[in-house]
């Protein structure tokens, strides 16, 4: 955390590194506008048809301010108790995953880094699987335990990867940590597959969790996720200048009086917090953490002072729109949101890879 304090203590007047612009007001405004459009679409469109007027009325009269009695009371209740929290949670999870992805890519200087790089995804899925399998038939636990187990799994996995990476030698080389993460992820995935296959009666529950749990979202999930988002995203943002310096080289960070290793540790910890919170709330949703930061880089350049906030905004917008598609295209049936993000994400990623600028990422 010292790095955070150092970064925060640094006077705001410190000149930006040459050639690395601050976030232009125009782009920030455009990002906010895109989020607004996505949120509007998200609350207007759904399997239950609700008129624009009713949505407007609902927004102006939240149930905790005054109770509804009119003919639209049922629809207003549906909007407030089901659709609004789902849209809010979608935005939060999208922001978390995109921010975490951008942070990992910065720390490891690797365009393929995603929020699940260090085993957070595999750990979370294993944690959730164990919770589902072990709580089967027990009246006490059930679905409330699953997010906790997922979060713990993610934290344990990344912690293990970090310890393993350090024990493997060259502490200055982030590749060691990435490889340790790959090893941990492969191992945990194998354990998860074994547990899942030996408990076939829990199979569907495990799958429906992996494919995304926004379906059951309520305000309680949104509320429990929010603090993690504020802390995680806040810490990553506080390091945006240092990540820019890291992109130039470790010497650049050292010249600012900060240890590159400490920057890496703090940013990885914060990004893992983001990933863990997102996975615990919504399941392992892929591709958001890769395609959103890369889109921002392709359009707006590679400075983390631009990439991080814009990824947060566009990540929120992207996941809200993906979730709107997930609950509308087959309405009233749901399409797993992970299917939507991957279907959009895979072709998109091909375009990113074909682009010549991939070498600069």
């Amino acid at each position: 955390m010292t790095a955070v304090r150092d970064a925060l203590r640094r006077p705001a007047s410190t000149a930006p590194l040459p050639g690395l612009p601050r976030l232009p007001v125009l782009w920030a405004g455009a990002g906010v506008a895109i989020v607004a459009v996505a949120l509007t679409t998200g609350v207007l469109v759904g399997p239950v048809h609700v008129s624009l007027a009713t949505v407007g009325e609902a927004l102006l009269s939240p149930p905790f301010l005054r109770s509804q009695t009119g003919p639209e009371a049922g629809q207003v209740a549906i909007l407030w108790s089901i659709r609004f929290p789902r849209v809010a949670l979608g935005a939060l999870v999208g922001a978390l995953l995109a921010t975490a992805g951008a942070a990992y890519q910065g720390v490891f200087r690797n365009p393929l880094a995603d929020p699940y790089l260090l085993g957070a995804g595999a750990g979370a899925v294993l944690g959730a699987t164990l919770a589902i399998v072990l709580s089967r038939g027990s009246p006490l636990v059930g679905s409330s335990l699953i997010p906790v187990a997922a979060f713990a799994g993610a934290a344990v996995a990344v912690g293990a990867a970090y310890i393993l990476g350090r024990s493997l030698g060259d502490r200055r080389n982030p590749t060691t940590l990435v490889l340790a993460g790959v090893v941990i992820a492969a191992f945990l995935t194998a354990v998860q597959t074994y547990v899942q296959q030996s408990q076939t009666d829990s199979l569907r529950q495990v799958y429906s969790w992996i494919l995304g749990r926004l379906v059951t979202a309520g305000w309680d999930t949104t509320a429990t996720t929010l603090p993690y988002a504020v802390v995680g995203i806040g810490v990553v943002f506080a390091h945006r200048r240092l990540l820019d310096a890291l992109a130039v080289g470790e010497e650049e960070v050292t010249s600012l009086g900060v240890s590159p290793r400490r920057v890496r540790l703090v940013v990885v910890a914060a990004a893992t917090l983001c990933t863990g919170a997102a996975v615990a709330a919504a399941g392992a949703i892929g591709f958001v953490g890769i395609i959103v930061p890369h889109t921002v880089r392709l359009l707006l350049g590679t400075s983390y002072r631009v990439v991080l906030p814009m990824s947060t905004l566009l990540g929120a917008a992207f996941l809200v729109l993906a979730d709107t598609a997930a609950r509308t295209i087959a309405a009233p049936a749901e399409v797993p949101i992970a299917v939507i993000t991957a279907m959009v994400g895979a072709p998109f990623f091909l375009v990113v890879m074909r682009s010549s600028r991939v070498s600069e990422l």
């Binding site: 549906i78 009246p139 059930g142 049936a333």
Partner: protein, 320 residues
Amino acid sequence: MREHLSAASAKLAARMGRTCALALLAGIACQSAPAASPSTGAGAFPLVIHQSGGAGVRLDHQPRRIVSLSPTATEMLFAIGAGKQVVAVDDQSTYPANAPVTKLNGFQPNVEAVAGYTPDLVVAAEDNGGLVAGLTALNVPALLEPAAKNLDDSYAQIRELGAATGHAAEAGSVVAKMRTDVAAVVGSVSKPARRISVYHELDDTYYSATSKTFVGQVYTLLGIQNIADRATGAAPDYPQLSSEFVVSSNPDLIVLADSKCCSQNLQTVAARPGWGAIAAVRGGQVVGVDDDIASHWGPRIVDFMRQIAPHVSQLERQAA
């Protein structure tokens, strides 16, 4: 792996040979002989069972070492009196309690492990992992009894298992009793004054079953409307419904087939965001059923219907 398999195959072939020799000594035809008309007992063998989409399954003698990899088939085999011939059932076969449960897995069957029980008949619901081909190579007859779409499918499967195990007459009476019981339950529910709607829940992420499924067809028989039918366009059998759709459909009856897997009940359902407004929740018409009974297509479907019918009658009285 190949060595293991061929060793098992050789052992099995040797045993099959011995069984065949014994059958010859006992004066029972071991080869040829046309498929006899289905009757009860060992005298009906050898026979050939023709399954749709597959070659005929030849049974040279009455099976004495049956392995069931399907929980529903296990229930059917015991119901028709073939339980004594069953030597092993898969890990999901929970009923009846005296079924010889093993670690065999029906979703990812291991042919070698199945062959280890030296079966003379294997019954499965699905041909996963090259099961049928593997067993055929070992000369073990394999019957597939896939998930039934309706009661007639279920009756046909019971009869087929009856013929295959030498219990055709018992199978016939099980089917006859099921028909009578189903008719009695359906008769106990009067014609509804208005359409009663049901939401059948498979897990706590709102997976449901439409009328095109076996369990869904039961609701059709009871004259109830299934809210999941609105989703058949996207997922004909088991769609995942949106929470807001379930709430706005306002079902009169909620059947929880996830009472065991996911510990769901009236309280947990009422606590879901927005669900407290649903008629079934307000009226307390939320029924927890045994997950297994509701997902199998065997004789116990009658128990399921008996559990649902009183709620339907109650709702109809309220509606009248």
